[in-house]
Symmetry: C3
């Protein structure tokens, strides 16, 4: 039996009168929704005072949703420890990068390292899991909410600061090892006692990047173990239900591959207009932001879909534990009207909610859950829309959801032939020393993704350690940190016939955060057949010409050149300090593109793809193709119609094509 995309919503029975869940459940079912997510911030209602639980309201709400035909996803309410807990144990509070306590009064006000909070996290998880773990309406769980949102992935004092030395000792064994690994001889930063090491903040000038890298790894490990404790309890007390987490947009606060382990599948929260205003990598100009203000940018959204679809791929010992629900990734929160948290919060275009839903499906999402059912009438999010308005009338998103035909969206595989590699260690190290204020790991990585999507390709985004054997082309835009073991894997992959494409700064740094003493490309020098010659950080207004075939491209932000030792130059710089030096090089199956320029990247990739028999299609701006389960989703994200291949594509619209 073919399965199709399913729909859901996030609802808050604690925010409305007790008679509402029954009414809402019926309306939700009528609208075609299957699931409702509940209770991720409801701790103060579950446990109003220490140890006094009140479940009646939630019992009744869940029963009402069940009677209405809805299935329930429950959450652990740990993003919002109540006032009574925080004031009794203020040491739970986290510290910001300025060394200040982050206070109670909003959400996510806890330090993952706090032993006291760990205990309470387990306690409340156990309580809710015992109460509802085997409730027939409950099909799955979400842990906490949006790890690291509002820069809460790292606390820079208190419990985290206290726990850091022991983590280092466990990792390095001796101070000598630590000092060597971090290069602490530089500026006499050598430690003689574990307790001397603190978080890398409030320093006189920039911190040691190795110090930063390990602090980020340490903080990431805290989130992983915090979640693992909740998963273990949920597995035990709620058999047969899935456990997932709703991850964020372009979030850099932890290693998502590490934290996702142990989940059944991954979910994420998709806010296309806010993403463009607030989370967009630095490469997006103000013109682009205005052009796509009412839809978001298709590739920024698509990148996140592809990232989360691939997050658990190739990880052994994982997979779906629950039953009866879709096992693919969910969009756990899908914007269905204006958001409230960006500097500007424009109204979505007509058709945008449908387009977002269709795109999510085409990029491999099995369930789309709209945030939120009814717009909140109180507190921080009153200006965020829902499917219903404050007055409970259907808002525009509701009408668009109602008009969706789910049978257009069969589940199935996304047939990506190209993999794009992504790694948080490289992200952290790159951004710790950007060298060019207009560049970042995300900017560099997303530029390659956009080049691929502009060619009409489906893309799998994967960790470099994933199984890459099935791909004809693997693109690694910004892996600045590559281990010797990873270098060996790349060699094997190239030997097997896979085409590898690398961006600038590749293999510049060691896993410890130093540079390879043999220089870039460190352990990949043989494979690539070259070494670094120069790199150049280009201020706005300064460009560096690259000649490639008949074309001339003006690189911005970054340009690097190479000394060849086996590779040949496909393109060279012209004029400027890099004049005549190699800009794009190739040895065998391996290509390196040293200049930052999207059209150049697209041209180089295009030739490689055609050489291995992958057909490419140069798409107009804002037009995109995505494929799933034998269908092709043709999308126009522009606010104006576009003529393309004899079709007239309406503004902000899509068509599902067979094949």
């Amino acid at each position: 039996m073919t399965e199709y995309l399913q729909l859901a919503t996030c609802d808050y029975p604690e925010h409305v009168p007790a008679d509402r869940p029954a009414i809402y459940a019926e309306q939700q079912r009528e609208l075609g929704l299957t699931y409702v997510r509940l209770a991720e911030f409801a701790w103060s209602r579950m446990e109003p005072r220490p140890g006094e639980f009140e479940w009646a309201w939630l019992d009744e709400a869940i029963d009402a949703y069940q009677r209405g035909g809805m299935q329930v996803v429950l959450c652990t309410p740990t993003p919002t420890p109540p006032a009574w807990l925080i004031r009794a144990h203020p040491e739970i509070l986290p510290y910001d990068e300025q060394g200040r306590v982050r206070e109670f009064g909003s959400r996510r006000h806890y330090d993952f390292a706090s032993p006291i909070y760990r205990e309470h996290s387990r306690r409340i998880t156990r309580a809710i899991a015992e109460r509802y773990g085997e409730h027939p309406a409950v099909v799955g769980w979400q842990t906490d909410n949006e790890w690291a949102c509002h820069n809460t992935g790292r606390s820079y004092g208190g419990a985290s600061a206290a726990a850091f030395p022991a983590w280092l000792e466990a990792k390095y064994g001796s101070l000598e090892q630590l000092n060597t690994a971090w290069g602490n001889v530089f500026w006499s930063m050598e430690y003689t006692d574990w307790a001397q090491v603190k978080p890398p903040i409030l320093l006189v000038t920039e911190p040691n990047p190795s110090h930063v890298l390990d602090y980020y790894r340490f903080c990431s490990s805290l989130i992983a173990s915090f979640q693992a404790e909740q998963i273990a309890i949920l597995r035990e007390r709620s058999p047969g239900r899935f456990v997932t987490h709703n991850f964020m947009i372009f979030e850099s606060g932890f290693d998502h591959y590490e934290v996702a382990k142990g989940l059944d599948f991954v979910s994420w929260d998709n806010y296309p207009t806010g993403m463009l205003e607030f989370f967009a990598p630095s490469g997006q100009s103000d013109d682009i932001k205005t052009h796509f203000a009412r839809t978001g940018h298709p590739d920024l959204i698509g990148f996140n879909h592809d990232l989360y679809r691939g997050m658990l791929k190739g990880q052994e010992g994982l997979g779906r534990q629950g039953a009866g629900t879709p096992s693919g990734p969910w969009v756990m929160e899908q914007q269905c009207g204006q958001v409230n948290w960006a500097p500007f919060n424009p109204l979505p275009a007509r058709g945008a909610v449908q387009l977002w839903t269709a795109q999510a499906w085409a990029h491999g999402v099995d369930v789309v859950s709209y945030f939120r059912w009814r717009a909140a009438t109180m507190a921080q999010e009153v200006m965020h829309s829902g499917l219903l308005r404050h007055d409970e009338t259907p808002d525009r998103g509701y009408e668009e959801v109602k008009a969706l035909k789910l049978s257009d969206f069969p589940l199935g595989e996304v047939p990506a032939k190209v993999a794009l590699l992504h790694d948080y260690d490289s992200l952290w190290l790159y951004d710790a020393q950007k060298h060019s204020a207009s560049m970042s790991y995300w900017t560099q990585t997303v530029t390659y993704y956009m080049a691929l999507r502009s060619l009409g390709l489906d893309v799998d985004i994967l960790h470099p350690d994933a199984d890459l054997s099935g791909y004809k082309v693997v693109v690694a835009p910004a892996l600045t940190l590559i281990s010797a073991e990873q270098a060996r894997q790349f060699s094997a992959l190239a030997a097997s016939g896979t085409r590898l494409v690398f961006g600038p700064r590749t293999a510049f740094r060691t896993p410890g955060g130093e540079t390879w003493s043999e220089g870039q490309f460190g352990p990949m020098s043989d494979l690539i057949g070259a070494k670094l010659l120069q790199y150049d950080s280009l201020r706005p207004g300064l460009t560096q010409s690259v000649k490639y075939g008949e074309g001339t491209f003006a690189a911005t932000d970054w340009a690097e050149s190479y000394r060849l030792s086996g590779a040949r130059a496909l393109a060279s710089y012209a004029g400027g300090p890099l004049d005549t030096q190699a800009a794009v090089i190739r040895k065998g199956h391996v290509t390196v593109i040293g200049a930052h320029q999207q059209e150049l990247i697209g041209t180089v990739l295009s030739e490689i793809l055609m050489n291995v028999g992958i057909s490419v299609e140069t798409l107009p701006d804002g037009v995109r193709l995505s494929r799933r389960a034998g269908k092709t989703l043709l999308q126009n994200w522009n606010p104006h119609p576009v003529k393309w291949q004899g079709r007239l594509l309406a503004p902000v619209s899509f068509t599902v094509l067979d094949a």
Copy 2:
């Protein structure tokens, strides 16, 4: 007997040799000045050491001014507690929004909630009032100086933080009430003990707007009671003298209507060039700032005059207690050369000091007091001008004041037929959740004021609870918070024939800071005959067309549309997500303008005004008309001449016309 505008100055005998007051007084009298304000920062000279008072210098100075024919306004010196007091009681110091103590070394370094400071405030007020309360030269008092200047309206820690829970308990009675009123169920922010509540700072993400709103109200009440203590002492020990306070420009740090209660009249400090650089609402472009750099913008100044003129209007039990001095508002500090505190401090244009003085008169001011007599030769304000230069020679402002003919400026009524409504609760709530980074309460409100002034109208600015029965047209640009009682008053007003005009976001929020659960316009839905359909936050570059009659207007920053239930659409949106939806609506006497665009607002207002028989006059940019006591002040604020109605208006000039 006709009274005329009077002039004054601010002088600082403590800054100059002891022989100066006698010389200065004579010069001041010759220049035509009547009053001199003294001693608002002189505490360390009045009481150099705890309990040791030294009055001789001030006795002699006051006597010198008296002999010279000047009348004296004295101040309580509480804006500057001396070092000995602060170091003995550091708990007096206030906290900033970053949670840091604000240190001694400039001014206004105290927390209004400090019981110790309250005691010392009463003590020094009593001492100075006893000494000079019945001195024949002393005609009145100023309390402290510029409440809230430098963001001192609110302290975010220390004494204020300690006093906040008790204020809440007094207001709400029970924690249940508090939690409900603030919607604390959202994000589990519910309190179980009054002491758990802190100021809304250093949170992980944005605070609950209800929390913010009550903290602002609490802080405002502290200023009100702080001043009330001083007023009570002054009334008792200085009978027959007036008590006023010099308020600030576009200050949002407290509810001015609440704090002004108990004063005889209101004064304010008018710094037109600094205002434009530093305090101008966000709607003023850089081009406007350059064009009016040497005069300030006429409407930004006029707005403040009209605001303070109307501040005590319609408040029962108030009015002049003193005798023999003008009872209208004063400009207590009037810029008369360059200021020193804005990023740029251009020299005023020739004629600007005269123009400012004439405008003040025409907007209802009875006394203009120039700041300051002689430019300071020491400390923070050496680069601020005075009537005299550092070397005691007359500066340009002096020459302009000398050339004024006061008989051109008879006192009397400002014949405003239009009221514009203004309220600090709405201001606070609007700005707590702007939703569009380029919008604010002041920007929205001032845009309506400018539209009215561009039509040649005089405007009364009033609190929504004032008696509005005399006005043919009442404009409420940004009352986002409206109570059910206020809604009833608006209904009665409309029923009586008054035309009401509302801007966007009107009646969106409850007095507690939530949204009306029946949606905008809450309790005003019947009166307006419509409900909110959509609102749209427009990023720079994004506009929304509005068709009104033959015209098309491009709304910026904000656009909202309505579902009609009794009202009819006067204008509709064209294109974009609001296409065909109602933009301007009317039911009976009530009009709502949903789009932000000054020309559209002017056009709609113009028609309404003509319909009720108020004649309008479309004025060129920078040309303004103001009327008082049967005269009309025709002003050209442009740095170039303007031809208008057959007259050639010189740059930066005015003419007083009869009628």
Copy 3:
């Protein structure tokens, strides 16, 4: 025997395997280098644990350099106190302007006032001086490294805050004197106890400029005495060696004239591209930054050369104590590839390293030391280039150094006929009250320097108290603080025939930071024959026309006018509030230029120079002339060729001409 420019490098044996120094020394010698600087950050290797010294690695390194033919400059390692010292004595840590402790983990994390750190500074200085003071390879010493780098010139809490009152007491004797000197009567800031005085931070609004000025002087005196302690020890234990310090670029954190006293000669660290991005005075536009992105701006670099060349000039009791090494200023660190610490770090143009070296020579530098030998492979500076790359291959700078012909660069005098005056007290006071956000002391001063350099002149930059008797023209661009004694010296100088040229704001302020009560020009009024009439702070977009002869100039940022009492107007303002007022005035040999406009300044200077027989040459943008030892260095700093006087100057190139 003619001496020539010598070359050097900075090397870090502690960062590399023990076999490297021997190899490197040989390579350095081959490259033509004479000196190697060592060990400024190596404390944790010299003394890994309290009191346990390990010298073997440094003994071996120094011996290796000696064997290789290199001479060694050693450093006191005090910029980087090790973790064991900081954690044992956290009171050593400095405080930032936000009142926060600046933490261990990078460098310069100490408070100059800490008695404990003073003791350890002397202890480690003594230890290293005893070990190597008479080593035959060691020719000289550098104290610490880059005083005040990363805003460490001032600590705003802790030890410095504790020591400030005693410094004030020593200076003023009584609190009455202090209160009078600072004008503390203003805003009741009077102190009744020395301990009440704190650093001028975290105030409610701006601090008293006199308070700021004295805090800056106090902090400067701490650096001077900190260094003096090291110098005394080095003189005692390392006889015959020179002692220098490597100063920074446009550093304002202390009085360099005070701190330089006691050194044999001055050195500085020259980073032309980073300087332009990061340290350039505010007058440099983005276009200029892009144009000179790969070379830096010739005059910004030249200014620093000339500043440091003149730093010890005219100071009695000083001079070279060592022997056998050049006694002129050194560039102790010379950029030789990209830097890593500016927002953008472009690659230098081809030829830039040679051009920088030649320019340094022409401006009086005797030794240029390239930073650094090999690019660091660890920690904060991995992205900073060296002469060798990470992989130890020669980088582009190496090749350029190799091609230098040192015999082109004979040592000798720079024949400057014009002196430009510079003073840190004026800098501090000016910038404490800029009055115009786009202006600063450096901007004003550098504008005059650029005007002189555009005319082809060599310039000595000197303290106002230096012996100025040899100069035909003395230019004082921004001496806003002038003492009565200095006024007398200027009078004597003018009487002797020297032409004096002053910029705006001259002699506006007293040495205490007040204004002269007789107004600008205070004690110089007679000499100048005028008093201030008005000053005007011009926002961007606002200009003020000046008519001078046939020319019209549009002043930006600042314009001031004068009342004449002996002087005559050479130029007047036209239009605007200063219309017809005097803009440029002259009495006898003294000229004052009141308007900020580089071409106007150049025109006025040009006429004065020609009048006294100094020939001027109007140079194209980016072309510069510098003279030394009978040679002329003709430079083209543009990235394109320039035709000039029949020559075609290649991009980024120089020629050494005879005469």
